[in-house]
């Protein structure tokens, strides 16, 4: 049993983050005006609420991640182009909705040599080999990095997973290996759009996004993509179950208040 201080006032804290997602937590204010989260409550006296009810409330309310990170380790085997000058190009194209998404490139590593060259476009911050982030604040966002290719390039891609809104397209990340002037791809790939990308990640609202890897034909550039870990979730709530949970919670608290007045 988890007991509540029946004298405490209950507050349901609702917030809408900058990305438009609502989340909530329940807090109580004790007689001294201190806010405590629900799980921290320990009652000194009075009525009680079964712990199972509390567990059920959270079970109802915590859904599969609405805002999650999809993290992938990407490795390019560039042995077939050893010593070739290239432009490693990361595109992030907004799908036109109001959703906010970003993609970060981190843990960049290569046995090639990074060289100057390449022009960034749109909303790009940071640079390689450090962490660089592309956001969908602009329509076309591109990070370019000149490189003399070694045998391998690896990095991690971390993307947010906010779904397209209002019938818009998914924000889409794509990876290219271009010539030093960034004019054409160094290999033709099986990319169904005909754009010769090596990897695409469509942020379609699913936990890991829709990632696809395309093999090169004219030059073999084996690409391996591995999910870093299960997408991490921020406990968030979906509206129908939240309303159910909220109703239960408020009902329970009302009963508690009723008992208090009866006394």
């Amino acid at each position: 049993m988890v007991q509540f201080d029946t004298c405490a006032k209950a507050y349901i804290h609702i917030a809408v983050r900058s990305d438009g997602i609502a989340f909530w937590d329940a807090k109580t204010k004790n007689k001294r005006g201190c806010m405590r989260t629900l799980k921290d409550q320990r009652c000194r006296s009075g009525a009680s609420v079964p712990a199972g009810v509390i567990a059920a409330l959270f079970a109802l309310s915590i859904q599969s991640p609405v805002r999650a990170q999809s993290d992938y380790d990407v490795t390019l085997n560039t042995s077939s182009l050893l010593g070739t000058g290239a432009t490693l190009t990361f595109d992030f194209i907004a799908g036109g909705g109001t959703q906010s998404n970003s993609v970060s490139i981190l843990d960049f590593s290569t046995d090639g040599t990074l060289v100057s060259g390449g022009v960034n476009s749109g909303s790009v911050s940071g640079s390689l080999p450090g962490t660089a982030t592309l956001s969908n604040a602009s329509f076309f966002n591109e990070l370019q990095q000149g490189i003399t290719l070694g045998s391998t390039i690896s990095f991690q891609v971390d993307a947010t997973t906010n779904a397209p809104t209002g019938g818009s397209l998914p924000d889409t990340f794509s990876l290219f290996l271009l010539d030093p002037t960034a004019s054409y791809s160094l290999t033709n790939t099986t990319d169904p759009t005909g754009s010769d990308s090596l990897v695409t990640l469509q942020i379609d609202g699913t936990a890991g996004g829709n990632i696809a890897v395309y093999s090169g034909s004219s030059a073999s550039i084996p690409v391996s993509v591995k999910a870093v870990s299960a997408p991490t979730s921020v406990p968030e709530i979906d509206s129908p179950t939240a309303l159910s949970a909220l109703t239960l919670l408020l009902g329970g608290l009302a009963v508690l208040r009723g008992r208090r007045f009866e006394r």
Binding site: K9, A10, Y11, I12, I14, V16, G20, I21, A22, W24, V66, D91, I93, A94, G95, G96, G97, F139, F140, E142, A163, P164, T165, G166, G167, S168, L169, P170, D171, T172, S174, F176, L178, A182, S183, Y184, S185, D191, P192, T193, G194, S195, D196, S197, T200, Q202, I203, D204, G205, I237, D238, S239, P240, A242, L243, L246, L250, L253, A254, R257
Partner: protein, 407 residues
């Protein structure tokens, strides 16, 4: 009261949040043909300097053929659909020449965006023809307004088809030899004053020709067996009877089997048979005299083929099925099965891990075995050191098209 106010405020906020969260990726219904469409995200194509998306279209209606058009609006005056006359009349080529019911096709749509403005494309219309271009049917006999030779009669005509096709008359499968089709001993199925011949594309498209007739009350009924003919040498039998309501009877019958021997008087008490040694399309002419003094004529057609000719339309279907399996197109593969067998094979062809191209490869080994009327069998053999064979059964449907029934 504070609690109630808080609750109401909470409900408002949750409703707002629900609206935000509920918006998801678009799958849309376009005007025109009943289809579902969805765009992939955009990828920049440096060769064309366009932003490309894969448009996926699922057909929820009958088969669509070329000319196939897709209308797309970009919602931005600075964005156009590359390769189209304008943003609302994109012509697209269908990958398989048609888009079957429940089949999905993908198209790369390139958006030219000189200003790189944000845009949300929508499909405004998808349209296609109901039959393949070049599919046509014409009736040679009986001609419009003519009186056929009897209540049952021979229908002949011509069929042109750019793809695998069959012919039918009032839903009765016709025999097809080259560009000629015929139905022996045809009885109108829908109306006593007309019949409708149809050319049926293997993917479901159809063109028709309706012919007005004036049916007589009496005539010879001639039913050949096998109905269409067969592989040379072929012995065919004719079942001859008088179709009348006045009690008249046949008193004499001559038959010209069309093989050069001319008309011969035949006995009504013994089987009327002829063996055709060489391939060809033969027309049998019969003339009967009756007890009431009438002279009646009737015709039938007999097709005599080589095994290769006879099995060609059967193996064409097997080949289409093989191709569909090789390209993982289950909807198309199922369409090459009979209607009754599709529910049996749908779960098999969609089960996890099934090697569809492997099945296609197996079908590529098909060898003709049996052809009797509307029933055919081919044998497929697994490769390897200990090959195993199994039979594939095909039957001819009401549209005159061979389809796989079991394998």
């Amino acid at each position: 009261m504070t609690l109630i106010k808080t609750a109401l405020r909470c409900l408002q906020l949750f409703a707002l949040a629900a609206l935000v969260v509920a918006s998801t990726v678009a799958t849309a219904q376009a005007a025109g043909a009943p289809v579902t469409t969805s765009f992939s995200g955009l990828v920049y194509d440096r060769a064309t300097q366009t932003f490309n998306s894969v448009l996926t279209i699922t057909n929820n209606g009958p088969t669509l053929y070329a000319p196939f058009s897709i209308g797309i609006a970009t919602g931005s005056s600075s964005v156009t659909v590359k390769g189209a006359n304008n943003a609302t009349s994109t012509l697209a080529t269908l990958p398989n020449g048609s888009l079957l019911p429940n089949e999905t096709a993908t198209f790369v749509i390139a958006f030219a965006d000189p200003t790189r403005a944000t845009f949300v494309p929508t499909v405004t219309q998808v349209a296609g023809a109901s039959a393949p271009a070049g599919l046509s049917v014409a009736v040679t006999s009986p001609k419009a307004g003519q009186t056929p030779a009897g209540p049952t009669f021979l229908v002949t005509g011509t069929l042109t088809a750019p793809r695998v096709a069959g012919a039918s008359v009032d839903g009765v499968a016709a025999c097809v030899v080259g560009s000629t089709f015929f139905v022996n001993a045809f009885t109108p199925q829908v109306s006593l004053t007309s019949f409708t011949a149809a050319a049926n594309d293997v993917d479901g498209g159809q063109v028709t020709k309706t012919v007005a007739i004036s049916l007589p009350s009496e005539g010879l009924q001639v039913v050949p067996s096998p109905a269409c003919g067969g592989i040379a040498p072929l012995t065919t039998s004719l079942a001859v009877s008088l179709n009348t309501t006045d009690g008249d009877t046949i008193t004499g019958l001559t038959v010209d089997f069309g093989a050069g021997a001319g008309a011969q008087l035949v006995s009504l008490s013994s089987p009327i048979q002829n063996t055709y040694a060489t391939v060809g399309l033969y027309t049998v002419h019969l003339t009967a005299t009756t007890a009431l003094g009438a002279t009646l004529t009737q015709s039938s057609m007999i097709s005599v083929q080589t095994p290769a000719q006879a099995f060609a339309p059967i193996l064409s279907n097997v080949s289409l099925l093989q191709s569909a399996l090789s390209s993982h197109d289950v909807a198309r593969a199922l369409s090459y099965h009979t209607y009754t067998s599709r529910p049996r094979y749908a779960p098999l062809l969609t089960q996890t891990g099934i090697n569809l191209p492997g099945l296609g490869t197996l079908l590529s080994t098909a060898q003709p075995v049996v052809l009797v009327g509307d029933y055919a069998e081919v044998i497929v053999t697994t490769p390897g050191t200990s090959p195993q064979s199994s039979s594939v059964v095909l039957v001819r449907d009401g549209g005159g098209i061979w389809r796989v029934d079991s394998w």
